[in-house]
């Protein structure tokens, strides 16, 4: 597709291209009427040069410079188009008539013009001045098209010395090297500065590059342009249906022609202190970083690094100590920085160069970032003693009275004790609707101090790891046994954790006492007697034979499984043992398995035979023990809460020792 055709009365913008309806005449590659055969047509004479009908070469017609005339030029009107950098050669014939050598001279000439017909350069050929006695001699010039040259014209230049009265003639001008026709791609470009309307009739289009023609309000310039037309299309268009959005940060999802990525929106600048203490003032984010306060770039909270924009306030240099800044809050247009013992008031500005410390006072401070709130002309904050304010003319922490929070110091101080101990800092805010400063203490008041829990049941040999729960009051707590004793083998830490291995069963009574930071106490009494007591014997795991100090040896024979006995799944248990030393502790733990009969037949001649039956499903009538004890102790213990003990029979002959 070519450029659009020119249209009459159309508005054209600068840069518009058109092609003419009527093409211009093609460029001529040769001079016009170079031999003067057509008379002076196509020539422009200047100086004293003139058309002559006598003395020509081959014919009578030529250009002549009369005698006693210094200079004349016959300039051919043909505009010869030559590409920039290409060469044009012009040749003509000169005849000096009767002139003597050096009196007259003539030569071929090439003159270069730009698109506005301004002469750029003239190149001369060899001068014919030798006095030829009426002979014709050629003059030739080869010239290179200079930059900006739109076309060239060829000429015959004739000169004579002042006192010489003979004629000199020129004829037969010709050229080579000019481009024929129109340049390829010749179109016309609107070059006026503003939009304009074309005329009602087509202008006379110039056929030479760079030349212009005025067309009403439009100025057209001949150009050889190639044009590429780009049409914009959106690169990122969402689809018709919403994608299933991923929830992992960094995950991507396709949507139409878009790839979406889930982002965290975290401030990733490595110089961001990522601290808890933050304030936003002067189009910047300020954040405490130990003893200094860093700030972000103006209006860019993601940038904490740009020099002369992001930076820090040297708060640590402004006081006797370098405590970490704990509170940042806006006060009027300034930034107040507080640590535990110092107050600083900074003038802050989007331009870091304009930041400066305005005021500083040691001896007042705060550690409660979220309790500070600007209210009108004051900055309310929570000091070590209660709620205080910073006013325009003073910063007050009158520990006795006077400030707005003083009347509630008693309440606040108590609550602060708990907040500090519980690591639950208070939160303050200003509620404009009520004109009130609210200070909230989480989990306050705390519940009454108490000790809770119960040592789990166990038997002799069980490992115990149990912690009593202490709640309420003011931590930290101290836990101790205030009365009685833990079962033998157990001990308790100050945190209420009971550790150890039950070394002995039986009854135990003890009291656990917890004391909080205020000195308040709470107690829990554990009374583990009777059915709540601890089993004295346990053989659910290998249990050592207790060897008395006198070193009695033990020999036992069992009809049941081997030592240690475990009879949980047997219907009938029979043990026949002879104990001559040490302790034999058969334990029946049938759990939920019924046992029809339990029979122990033992001869104890020394040491102890301990029979423990732990069963809740066995008929007590089925229990029978036949034991001959000639020494030592036979202990028969029935742990059964649902049947009368009276139904248990024991036939025992005790020759010595004790039956319990």
């Amino acid at each position: 597709m070519a450029a659009p055709f020119w249209q009459a009365g159309k508005l054209y913008l600068p840069g518009d291209l058109v092609q003419p309806i009527t093409q211009p005449a093609p460029n001529d590659p040769q001079v016009t009427n170079g031999g003067f055969e057509g008379g002076p047509t196509g020539w422009t004479f200047s100086g004293d040069a003139a058309y002559s009908t006598t003395g020509g070469y081959g014919s009578a017609r030529c250009v002549v410079l009369p005698g006693n005339k210094p200079d004349g030029v016959a300039l051919n009107n043909a505009q010869l188009v030559v590409p920039v950098g290409a060469q044009l050669t012009a040749t003509c014939l000169i005849q000096q008539g009767a002139s003597v050598a050096g009196a007259t001279a003539g030569w071929a000439e090439v003159r270069w013009y730009d698109a506005l017909n301004t002469l750029l350069q003239t190149d001369k050929g060899n001068a014919v001045d030798s006095g030829s006695n009426g002979a014709w001699h050629p003059s030739t010039v080869t010239s290179t098209a200079p930059a900006s040259a739109a076309y060239a014209r060829a000429a015959i230049h004739l000169t004579s010395v002042a006192d010489h009265d003979h004629e000199i003639f020129g004829d037969n001008l010709s050229v080579s090297g000019a481009t024929a026709g129109l340049p390829e791609g010749l179109v016309y470009k609107a070059v006026q500065t503003e939009s304009g309307t074309s005329g009602s009739s087509e202008p006379a289009w110039p056929g030479i590059l760079g030349q212009q023609v005025v067309d009403n309000e439009v100025i057209w310039e001949a150009v050889t342009t190639s044009r590429v037309t780009w049409t914009a299309g959106p690169r990122y268009v969402s689809g018709a249906t919403e994608p299933v959005w991923p929830t992992d940060i960094g995950a991507m999802v396709q949507d139409g022609t878009i790839n979406w990525k889930a982002i965290s929106r975290r401030v990733e600048d490595e110089k961001c202190p990522n601290s808890k203490v933050v304030a936003i003032v002067a189009s910047k984010v300020f954040a405490a970083d130990d003893d200094i306060v860093k700030f972000s770039a103006t209006a860019n909270p993601l940038d904490w690094s740009t020099v002369d924009d992001a930076g820090y306030l040297p708060t640590g240099l402004q006081q006797a100590n370098a405590n970490s800044m704990a509170v940042l809050q806006q006060y009027r247009a300034n930034l107040v920085a507080l640590n535990a013992s110092s107050f600083q008031n900074w003038q802050v500005d989007p331009d870091p160069a304009s930041m400066a410390i305005l005021d500083q006072m040691d001896g007042i401070g705060s550690q409660w970032q979220r309790a500070a709130a600007p209210v009108s002309n004051d900055l309310i904050y929570l000091s070590q003693r209660g709620v205080r304010t910073i006013g325009i003319a003073n910063a007050a922490e009158n520990l006795a009275a006077g400030d707005i929070g003083a009347p509630i110091d008693v309440l606040v101080q108590q609550a602060m004790l708990y907040a500090e101990a519980n690591s639950t800092p208070p939160i303050g805010t200003y509620y404009p609707g009520a004109g009130q400063y609210w200070l909230a203490f989480p989990n306050y008041p705390p519940p009454v101090l108490g000790v809770y829990g119960k040592l789990p049941a166990g038997g002799c040999g069980d490992a115990i790891d149990y912690t009593y729960v202490v709640a309420g009051g003011l931590p930290p707590y101290n836990v101790e046994i205030s009365a009685g004793e833990l079962p033998e083998g157990l001990s308790m830490t100050a945190q209420g954790r009971v550790l150890g291995e039950l070394a002995k069963g039986g009854d135990a009574i003890w009291t656990v006492r917890a004391t909080d930071a205020l000195g308040d106490t709470a107690e829990l009494q554990e009374s583990r007697t009777g059915p709540e007591g601890f089993f004295k014997y346990l053989t659910s795991r290998p249990y050592p034979v207790v060897i008395p100090p006198d070193g009695i040896t033990a020999a036992a024979q069992f009809d049941g499984p081997g030592f240690p006995p475990s009879y949980a799944h047997q219907d009938t248990f029979t043990a026949a043992a002879a104990v001559t030393g040490g302790e034999l502790r058969p334990l029946l733990i049938p759990l939920n398995q019924p046992v029809e009969a339990f029979n122990v037949s033992a001869t104890v001649t020394g040491g102890s035979l301990v029979v423990t039956l732990k069963s809740y499903t066995m008929q007590p009538e089925a229990i029978s023990t036949g034991t001959n004890i000639t020494g030592g102790t036979l202990e028969v213990k029935l742990v059964q809460t649902t049947v009368p003990v009276e139904s248990v029979t024991a036939a025992t002959t005790i020759t010595g020792g004790t039956l319990s």
Partner: protein
């Protein structure tokens, strides 16, 4: 001063501050703040405003007002009951342990149109977040590079335009062009450009990148003067020495360097 106690037995007379000899009238009120008297003459407290929000139990931390809603925070998307449409949950994930819950919110306030939030995670790590939101996703919409969107049902996470699904060649100069060629600008502006027309003896890109229009269907021409082509500027290697070192340091010509002037004064 201790006054005589008068028991209000019925507010028949409304508020009346005229006091006559004898003291207060048990049938009138001197003042009543934030209350009203019902038809039975009983003073009642005026009900206040009430905002009730049902949040996932124990799953969110903090709360602040922003953009007409109450914003809460969690480390994972939370389903806010439809009965509390004014509540929205923003998701803040720990950068290295995404499933780490949030322990506390130390700061949350709007800055430059978006919330600036400082959460502390249960392991004690504190990070800063600036919760840019962008716009709500729309179907068939043209987005530009860097665009941020949030789902139509917000899940607390923002999504940024990362790339396109179709790859294009980047515009380069002095390349012959034919109809159908597609390029994207050297600096992504969200549009690709298709050659829809060419004419002239040698349609090609010029030496200077066009000023690309940014609306669908808009066109731009890239003209190249065949007769007088614009010279292509040479590439700078970046480590070339200047042609004249003395010129570089201002030690030739009239001499404007301070040390030169000092020397001259010394002479």
């Amino acid at each position: 001063m201790t006054g005589r106690i008068v028991t209000l037995n019925a507010a028949k007379g409304g508020i009346n501050r005229l006091r006559v000899k004898g003291g207060a009238d048990p049938n009138t009120l001197y003042d009543l703040v934030n209350g009203y008297v019902d038809q039975a003459g009983v003073s009642r407290s005026r009900p206040g405003t009430k905002n009730k929000a049902t949040l996932p139990t124990g799953a969110t931390k903090g709360m602040c007002a922003y953009d007409g809603k109450l914003i809460v925070f969690s480390h994972e998307p939370q389903t806010i009951p439809a009965s509390t449409p004014i509540v929205e949950c923003e998701v803040l994930k720990h950068p290295s342990t995404p499933d780490l819950p949030i322990k506390d919110i130390h700061f949350a306030g709007p800055f430059l149109g978006y919330l600036y939030v400082v959460p502390e995670f249960v392991n004690g790590d504190v990070f800063h977040y600036w919760l840019q939101r962008g716009t709500t996703w729309e179907p068939g919409k043209v987005y530009l590079p860097g665009a941020l969107v949030t789902p139509t049902n917000p899940n607390g996470i923002a999504y940024q335009l990362d790339s396109g699904t179709e790859q294009f060649a980047v515009w380069v100069r002095n390349i012959a062009r034919v109809v159908g060629d597609k390029v994207v600008p050297t600096v992504d502006n969200g549009y690709y450009y298709t050659v829809t027309d060419v004419f002239g003896p040698a349609p090609r890109s010029g030496a200077i990148e066009p000023t690309w229009p940014t609306s669908p269907g808009a066109t731009v021409f890239e003209d190249s003067d065949v007769a007088n082509p614009t010279p292509v500027p040479g590439e700078q290697s970046g480590n070339q020495l200047p042609p004249d070192v003395t010129e570089r340091y201002g030690s030739v010509g009239s001499g404007s360097s301070p040390w030169r002037n000092l020397n001259r004064e010394a002479e």
